[in-house]
Amino acid sequence: MAGSYISMGEAHHRITEYLNRFSDAVSYQDVTSLKPLLSLSSNSPYLLSLADALNIFQEDSTNKLIRQGHNNNYPDIVTPLFRSFQNFRIAHLVDSYLAFEKAANSFIQEFRNWESAWALEALFVVVYEIRVLAERADRELVSHGKTPDKLKAAGSYLMKVFGVLAGKGPKRVGALYVTCQLFKIYFKLGTVHLCRSVIRSIETARIFDFEEFPVRDKVTYMYYTGRLEVFNENFPAADQKLSYALMHCNPRREANIRMILKYLIPVKLSIGILPENSLLVKYNLIEYSDVVLALRRGDLRLLRNALQKHEDRFLRSGVYLVLEKLELQVYQRLVKKIHIIQKQKDPTKAHQVKLEVIVKALKWLDMDMDVDEVECIMAILIHKNLMKGYFAHKSKVVVLSKQDPFPKLNGKPVNS
């Protein structure tokens, strides 16, 4: 209990002041003054001093204070909210979370009864606070060796809120914010399959145009759905969504841009679009620079090394498999290079690339692959339309088409 000694009178004063502010904000439907009264984690001096006052005040008398006022005090909200403040102040985060959840439930109950959506902003605060508090409570639980389950509980609360908002009417505009908070929870918990129902409800609704949602929420939404598409290896869709997020996000928020690029770059790479190195440097995404270089050079070894070097990072962000699939493009580049060299030497026979030449080239790159394996890769390249032509098994020669033997992807994903 930090802070200097507070007299009972001072404590009493602080508590009644809060109660008055709260009831005034609600009765005047003044969301801007309601918001700070709810934002627990903001660590505002006002709330901190309130928490101190509450901690020295008898709980009974606090409750009496809440009840003795008019009905506008919303005791169902304020009582657990006070308990949450108190516990938060003394860093009992799990208890704080539990109390806050109670308050939040009462709040959504009231919110449902309010005709207009005036308190939407306040609800956002509640939704945000409950998520952040749950994350911290879970950390506390883990440190005590217990199973963290509060974030999950927050998730189900958010689903409830989503249910309240998702209907017709003025409150719908808040649905996307809750959706994004839900995404954050689900991605954190690794239960992204739960996103699907929310997405369906957002994307199939005819009554409300997606564009009418706030830009902030739209960007977040696109970012997360784009990530989901990366998982599904649906690159064109991922490209579209992530690009939307990139285009609409606040250009001054570099961290956000970086987060978007982290997924957009691998997506772009796999549809054959390589970024400038300056971009990578600017947003501190240099882990991709070797990958990009390998693609430019057809250097299989470089690609593999880059993947190995940043394996942990790529695995965590979930782009490892996407990057690994770039291997075929690297092979394509390699054969293309051989083809170019052959063309310089002898243009008439350039379209026939001997298998042994490719094997030798790979050997120079320390890739120890035998003829069968390379033959297989050539077959795959042809099959996936990275190379036009055919393979003659008898003579062990790749016969390239004379027209555009190495078609560019140009935004199309590799055939699979």
Partner: protein, 941 residues
């Protein structure tokens, strides 16, 4: 001769678990004693010269057979039953000793029995005993609930004769009726008078009368006497079971049941306490009785030679009540030699006083209640369903029906219904024509009402018994709300607590107040007694059922080869039955009644908990139940955290010694008697590992091992081994769902720091995710969760290489890895081979022009068993090429055979013609292992 032999076979079958037993009874197979049993019991069938029509079994139990005592106890009834007719002396004596024990134990239940009988007996004195018992049964039927009785005429008699026998066993030496009766008449003269008002005295009187009656009859008597002893021991349970609401207490009941058998405990103690305080008149009474035995035995000395030694010994302990350190079970003397009984007795005494202490710990193992219940429930079936006359399908039907039963009531009720069904079918003549496999199971008869009554009336008994046993410990049980009073109030007003406390004091060592006893009316006793058998039966039968599902026919001994056949056969039948009871109304009803019972148990808890310090298992069990209730309370009240419960103290410690046990999903708290301790589980695992049986059998066994580990919360290397074994087996047969279960458990176990083949299973996990889940997120998380040093491991490296090959579609690499997969990786990859080959051929047909030799395809796609670089072994190659060609044709590829030596794939033509054929073994429900034909081959025909 023949007759008695037949009986013996039947009796032998009683050792078997219930369904198997039914099966055997129906099939008429001879479930003879196992060779082992014979050795254990040293049982020999003699042909006594005097009573040539009857067989006597001599059972010698040596000291070094001590370990088998539990089992012997189990089978004691059977042994006795095998002594027909002429062996009556011993038999009766044994019965007498039972009475005495019960009496000395101070359990009024038996008094109740006796009283009841006493009031009845005079009428029937002259009548033929068979009839008499039948009548007495009829009277008893009012007291024993219908459920108990429902089975068959035989069982019905069991109940009545059981009590009857207990009562008048003293004089029951049919061989010498005259002299014996005389000695009997002496008994009341010497001591009955002071006891007259007491129930025990009437006891004796009755016995006299019946002694006379019995001596007339012999064969008829013994016929009914046969089942008697089973009930006799049930009677023991009756008197001792305190908590009829819960199967848990079977254990406790059993413990107590044992007590009188080994006199150094309860028996002696009681004598000590009773004697100093009992008035002079009573004192001789206790002694006179044994004395009479003694004399009677001497009179009948030629018969004694053939008596079952157990009973002899029991008599012996009666004779020497003061220093009876004799363990009755252990008779080192050969009864044939022991012509002079006195001599033999002293010998016994000496030997057993030594062995007695050592025997004690063996009590931990629990089984007898099972036998009891089996017997009671199946004697009936035995009597109607004569062996060998029923079709196999009926066996299955009966088994299915019985397998639904969750407790004794249902079991008994089911048997009743089944009896009707079969009788009806026999009458209709449809017994053989009806398709029993298709026959719908009848709804399980409700026994709720009876159940409730039984609960109400029996509760005080149990609580009192409890108090008697452990008054000091009661205060310790902090879980319990005190609701005994309420339950006691429900009792009729003329059975106040004090009365019972009189009895209770007697055994506990408190004052023996004769006056109170005198005041007692029989009525109250009867009330109690009547309710008890139900309770007993219920309690006793529950574990029996469980065991029957878990055991082979060999019952008592370690399930060896003998059990396997029917085991495997009935496995499928059992599962089929299980499906049937999935969500029927009966099942719902049962669930309801179960939950009701639970409610009641809560009220009763005060009586149960910490019942006895010695019965560790029972106490533990009770605690556990309480904790479960408590947990419920917590959840409702949300007041305290569940974590506050000390689960460690509540964990079941298994006592079952069977190595083999069938898996049955638990529907209630586990019973320690059917749970195997760790060392047995270890053996069980070894057995499964060395077993040659099919996967289904092994899977079943492993699941039961897993269950036992789980309920005992054993999480160590053994657990890891079990799961690893199961996972490997599952991989071998491609049972992915079972494998996944094991894998997820293993991951938790490894994470807890248990040693095992972590790398091997990390690799399996990777392979499984790569090849079968096809979910990128799972794959990513599996990869990121890999232990740091895992990437150096061969198996993990291999798995990662496979992943790379699959994601890039590199079929050459895939099949190379396929061939050199470590451990069981090949098995997992096997399941993906078809897909990979198809993708490869599709790729080839697009990329290669104009043709591609099949030989190459065969080599690259893993058809040939030799790798590409190996020297060609022609035959194999040709086989592989042919196989490959077949495969290609089956998938719609176009092959050209211009050159006789070489088959070529026409790649251009094949591009459009390739297709994935329907797998030949595909079934509509998608699981080939559930194929009907396969199923039918496993059903016993």
């Amino acid at each position: 001769m023949l007759k008695s032999k037949e009986r013996q076979v039947r009796l032998g079958s009683r050792l078997l678990p219930v369904p198997t037993c039914t099966l055997l009874l129906l099939s008429g197979r001879n479930p003879k004693f196992e060779e082992k049993d014979k050795v254990d019991f040293s049982a020999r069938f003699l042909n006594p010269p005097i009573l040539c029509d009857m067989q006597v079994i001599t059972v010698v139990i040596n000291n070094h057979h001590r370990k088998l005592i539990k089992r012997i106890r189990n089978r004691k009834e059977d042994i006795k039953l095998q002594t027909p007719g002429g062996a009556g002396a011993g038999y009766n004596n044994a019965a007498g000793s039972y009475v005495n024990q019960n009496w000395q134990q101070g359990s009024y239940v038996n008094y109740g029995n006796n009283n009841q009988y006493a009031s009845y007996a005079p009428e029937a004195t002259a009548a033929a005993p068979t009839q008499q018992y039948q009548q007495s049964y009829n009277q008893w039927a009012d007291y024993y609930s219908q459920t108990e009785v429902s089975c068959a005429p035989g069982t019905e008699n069991v109940v009545s004769t059981g009590t009857a026998n207990a009562v008048h066993s003293v004089p029951g030496v049919p061989g010498v009726p005259g002299g014996y009766v005389a000695s009997n008449t002496q008994q009341p003269a010497t001591f009955a008078a002071p006891w007259r008002p007491d129930s025990s005295s009437s006891d004796v009187i009755t016995s006299v009368q019946h002694g006379a009656a019995i001596s007339n009859v012999q064969d008829g008597y013994w016929k009914h006497g046969t089942p008697t002893f089973q009930t006799q021991s049930v009677g023991h349970v009756q008197s001792n079971v305190r908590t009829p609401l819960d199967s848990n207490h079977t254990y406790a009941g059993y413990q107590e049941q044992h007590k009188p058998v080994h006199p150094q405990g309860g028996y002696q103690e009681q004598h000590k306490t009773v004697h100093p305080q009992v008035s002079g008149a009573q004192y001789p009474a206790t002694h006179q009785l044994p004395y009479n035995y003694y004399t009677s035995l001497q009179t009948v000395s030629p018969t004694v030679q053939q008596t079952v030694p157990q009973s002899v010994q029991q008599t012996a302990s009666q004779n020497i009540p003061f220093d009876s350190r004799v363990s009755k079970m252990q008779i080192p003397t050969n009864p044939r030699i022991a012509t002079n009984l006195v001599l033999g007795l002293s010998k016994i005494d000496k030997d057993n006083s030594v062995s007695g202490a050592a025997v004690r710990p063996l009590y931990v193992s629990v089984a007898p209640p099972k036998t009891n219940s089996e017997v009671t429930s199946h004697v009936g079936a035995d009597s109607i369903l004569k062996p060998g006359m029923f079709p196999n399908s009926l066996r299955g039907y009966v088994e299915r029906a019985l397998s639904r039963c969750k407790d004794d009531k249902q079991m008994a009720a089911c048997q009743e219904v089944m009896k009707e069904v079969i009788t009806k079918a026999t009458a209709d003549g449809t017994l053989y024509t009806r398709n029993w496999d298709m026959e719908p199971l009848f709804p399980i008869p409700s026994a709720d009402r009876v159940n409730n009554e039984a609960l109400q009336s029996s509760t005080p008994v149990s609580s009192l018994t409890n108090n008697r046993r452990s008054p000091s410990r009661r205060s310790k049980s902090r879980w319990e709300p005190l609701s005994v009073d309420k339950l006691v109030d429900k009792q009729p007003p003329h059975t106040p607590d004090t009365k019972y406390s009189g009895w209770f004091n007697q055994s506990e060592g408190g004052k023996f107040s004769a006056g109170r006893v005198v005041k007692e009316n029989n009525w109250g006793h009867l009330k109690f007694t009547s309710s008890d058998p139900k309770v007993t039966n219920k309690v006793a039968q529950r574990p029996a059922k469980r065991q029957c599902l878990g055991d082979g026919p060999s019952g008592g001994d370690n399930g060896g080869g003998a059990s396997s056949d029917s085991d495997e056969q009935s496995l499928t039948a059992y599962y089929a039955g299980a499906v049937a009871l999935a969500d029927t109304p009966e099942e719902k009803k049962r669930r309801e009644s179960r939950s009701k019972r639970f409610e009641k148990a809560r009220g009763n808890r005060s009586a149960n908990s910490y019942s006895r310090p010695k019965t560790v298992g029972a106490g533990l069990y009770t605690k556990r139940t309480n904790a479960l209730v408590l947990k419920k309370d917590f959840e409702e009240g949300n007041s305290r955290a569940v974590e506050d419960i000390d689960w460690d103290s509540l964990t079941v410690k298994g006592t079952c010694q069977e190595v083999e046990k069938r898996y049955l999903r638990l529907t209630s708290a586990p019973d320690p008697a059917t749970v195997r301790p760790e060392e047995v589980l270890e053996k069980a695992l070894l057995m499964v590992q060395g077993s040659q049986k099919n996967y289904l059998h092994k899977c079943d066994q492993l699941k039961s091992i897993r269950q036992d580990l789980t309920v005992q919360r054993i999480r160590n290397e053994l657990t890891v081994k079990v799961y690893e074994t199961h996972a490997r087996l599952a991989i071998e047969v491609g049972d992915l769902s079972e494998y996944n279960q094991c894998q997820s458990q293993l991951q938790v176990l490894y994470a807890e720091g248990n040693k095992g083949c972590i790398m091997e299973f990390s690799a399996y996990n990777l392979l499984c995710v790569i090849l079968h889940s096809n979910n990128n997120r799972d794959l990513l998380s599996a990869m990121s969760k890999l232990p740091v040093d895992a990437r150096k491991d061969e198996a993990v490296k291999h798995a990662l290489a496979v992943r790379a090959a699959v994601t890039s579609g590199n079929y050459v690499l895939f099949f190379r890895l396929y061939k050199e997969a470590p451990n069981l990786g090949t098995c997992l990859m096997d399941l993906y081979v078809e897909k990979m080959r198809y993708a490869a051929v599709k790729c080839m047909s697009r990329s290669y022009r104009p043709t591609l030799p099949v030989a190459y395809i065969a080599q690259v796609l893993g058809f040939s068993s030799v790798s590409s670089t190996a020297e060609p072994s022609d035959e194999k190659d040709i086989d592989a090429i042919e196989e490959c060609a077949e495969w290609l044709k089956a998938h719609g590829a176009c092959l050209i055979t211009d050159n006789p030596d070489e088959v070529l794939l026409d790649s251009k033509a094949s591009t459009s013609s390739l297709f994935m054929p329907e797998p030949e073994d595909a079934v509509a429900h998608g699981d080939a292992t559930l194929a009907v034909n396969d199923f039918l081959t496993r059903v016993p025909s």
